[in-house]
Amino acid sequence: MSASTAAPTRLRRPTLAAALRRGWSPTNAITALILIALIIADLSIQPALANLFQIGLLIETALPLILLSVAQTFVVLVGGIDLSVGGMFVVANAITAQWVGLHGGAHQWLVLVAVGFGLAMGALNGLLVVGLRFQPFIATLGTWTIFNGIALTILPTDGGSPPPFLSNLLINEVAGIPTSIVILVAIFVAWRALRATRFGVRIYAVGADEERARLNGTPVRRVKLAVYMLAGLCAALAGIYAAGANASGTPTGGDPYILTSVAAVVIGGASLRGGEGGVGMTMMAAMALTLINDIVGAENLNTWVSVAAASALLLAMVIVRTGINAAIARRRASGRPTTGVGGAIPARAGGSVSERGES
């Protein structure tokens, strides 16, 4: 029964062209162009960047933000927001630097404890939102400081000693390719795989219209709970990665990531109302933000330039997108006069609500 009711989409060969076509939208194109422009700018400033090792280093600095932005994307997709990603990040970071690193990293399996903590913290957020009906903003505002406190309890000051095996694993190469690049690709592949599952479809369905999803038999509450847990998992992985890559832990380093992760999600084209956006675009946006920092650093410009550039980019993207969406809506309204209830949904041929702007 379940197999026949779900996944009504026909099986298509997942060609690159098809993937590009489905991900295409004017705003996604702008994000992609900005990233490409930044890459070109960075390369022209520092031509030495054009080798695999240097690119690996750049992605290494970007990965914590990328993973936290991915976590934020999932929550935003279902119409929520997670202010506690920074807190979950530092808890996993502190566990890795303190507990896993104990006795020279003799107990490597303790990394799994950090992962488990991530899932548990995400579950706490999810239960507050789904079970006690907290506004996501409030629930995660509260858990944000709780998690920060837990991290400080585990690791009172910067430092600790993450296990060497982790550092080696994360900094070395896999078949000549820096690990960071492999991880980046793996995140994207995992996202595409998840997106193709019924759970992936349901995330978009819940975000696009919760009531309709409920009426269609989607277990909305369970999907949301799972999404918050997934966000906790991603944030924990970011914390573990940062501890390994820096060979040190920080119990207070999470806060700057909170609003930056929201910025990356929004620059990536997601709507804070939910149902729009995707991990791929968020990853591009997070990479763009990292490149801005890199360019500012390479040019020896003052720090304020990168803060200003990131903020201006955020504002410009949102304003441009609002304008484009308004223009599209106007054209649609004039081209297609009232078509009843169905006209309310801007459906593309062969597409469904859940496929909008996804990538």
Binding site: S2, A6, I81, L128, L132, R133, F134, Q135, F137, I138, A139, L141, G142, T143, W144, T145, I146, F147, N148, G149, I150, A151, L152, T153, P156, R198, F199, R202, R214, G217, T218, P219, R222, V223, L225, A226, L259, V262, A263, V266, L272, N302, T303, W304, V305, V307, A308, A310, S311, A312, L314, L315, V318, I319, T322
Partner: protein
């Protein structure tokens, strides 16, 4: 607009927030008699007033259905810009007026972004906070030596009228005024109805954009003023001086019983929220709790406070209803693997 039931509900959550403050205070007094000493209470009032000013604009903005994440940077701006202006020879009084006027301007920009450009409040005020931060970073790099805070600001923050700190009296006056404006004036009713239901407000002839614009402008003024006083109290200014107030300004509003979605709340509730947070942070060191424990308790109190004041009754009611009807309203048609 709001019936008698709503009126009672609003008072209920405000009263509940004051009860929470009182309970925490009593715990403090029982534990250490010095907690109720004049100096201790004075310091708590001063600290609470900083939260109160940061949360004044936040209350109005949230009431009208928005959110202001630029508050901490506006506060930082207040102190830094005042010191910069007075160091370059502007009389302190004039400088304060100029700084607050710029704060109003920044608030108006927030409002314009949210209303005319239709940028979501979180994004608009986040970006504005970033731009202010960039400005402050730029100023900080231009002049490496820290300017001193002018004496006027120091006086406002540390002088006393009899036994009571001047700043607490100012805060009380502002709270009375804000309470009256929110509850008794047409502007206050408009803020409520805009936050309650924008479409209905528009249809009933309220200029929604103007109301929203005004709330952000007030937030700009109140936050920069709070920053000025905070800098006066601390004696110096630095970039991150306002950072804790992002969290506390929002927490004070929601502990005070306001709905984060807008339409419901009072400034007196926020005052109670500010007092609760301040008494709590004064209380915990008495129990030899570390910063880490403080963070955890802070978060738990916020969650419990919000739950009690806003959704406590309804959540209990729904729990009760569910226990009577274990199947729930929705038939379990979905598949279990959706939660994987």
């Amino acid at each position: 607009m709001s019936g008698a039931g709503d009126w009672i509900r609003e008072r209920q959550s405000t009263l509940l927030a004051y009860a929470l403050t009182a309970a925490l205070f009593i715990v403090g007094v029982i534990h250490s008699s010095g907690f109720a000493a004049g100096s201790s209470i004075r310091q708590m009032l001063v600290f609470a007033s900083f939260v109160g000013f940061a949360a004044l604009g936040q209350t109005l903005v949230i009431l009208a259905g928005g959110l202001d994440l630029s508050v901490p940077w506006l506060m930082g701006f207040g102190g830094v810009e005042l010191s910069r202006l007075s160091a370059s020879g502007v009389p302190a009084g004039v400088a304060i007026v100029i700084v607050i006027a710029i704060g109003v301007g920044i608030g108006l920009l927030n409002g314009i972004g949210v209303t005319w450009l239709r940028v979501p409040p979180i994004v608009m005020t986040l970006a504005m906070g970033g731009l202010i931060q960039a400005y402050l970073l730029g100023v900080g790099e231009l002049q490496s030596s820290g300017d001193t805070v002018p004496k006027v600001a120091v006086d406002i923050a540390s002088n006393r009228a009899g036994p009571i700190p001047v700043i607490a009296i100012v805060w009380f006056a502002v709270a009375v005024a804000a309470g009256l404006v929110i509850a008794r004036t047409a502007f206050g009713r408009r803020i409520h109805s805009v936050g309650d239901n924008e479409v209905v407000a528009r249809l009933s002839g309220i200029r929604v954009d103007r109301v929203r614009l005004a709330t952000y402008a007030i937030s700009g003024a109140a936050s920069t003023f709070g920053g000025i006083v905070l800098a006066g109290y601390v004696g110096t200014t630095y970039l991150e001086i306002g950072a804790p107030y992002l969290f506390t300004s929002i927490a004070a509003v929601v502990i005070g019983g306001a709905s984060i979605l807008g339409g419901r709340g009072t400034y007196w509730g926020t005052v109670a929220g500010a007092l609760t947070l301040t008494v709590l942070s004064a209380l915990l060191p008495l129990f030899q709790l570390s910063t880490a424990d403080l963070d955890i308790v802070y978060g738990v109190v916020i969650l419990v406070g919000v739950w009690l004041s806003s959704s406590g009754h309804s959540a209990l009611a729904s729990l009760w209803a569910r226990s009577r009807n274990p199947d729930g309203a929705i038939s379990p048609r979905g598949d279990p693997d959706g939660s994987r």
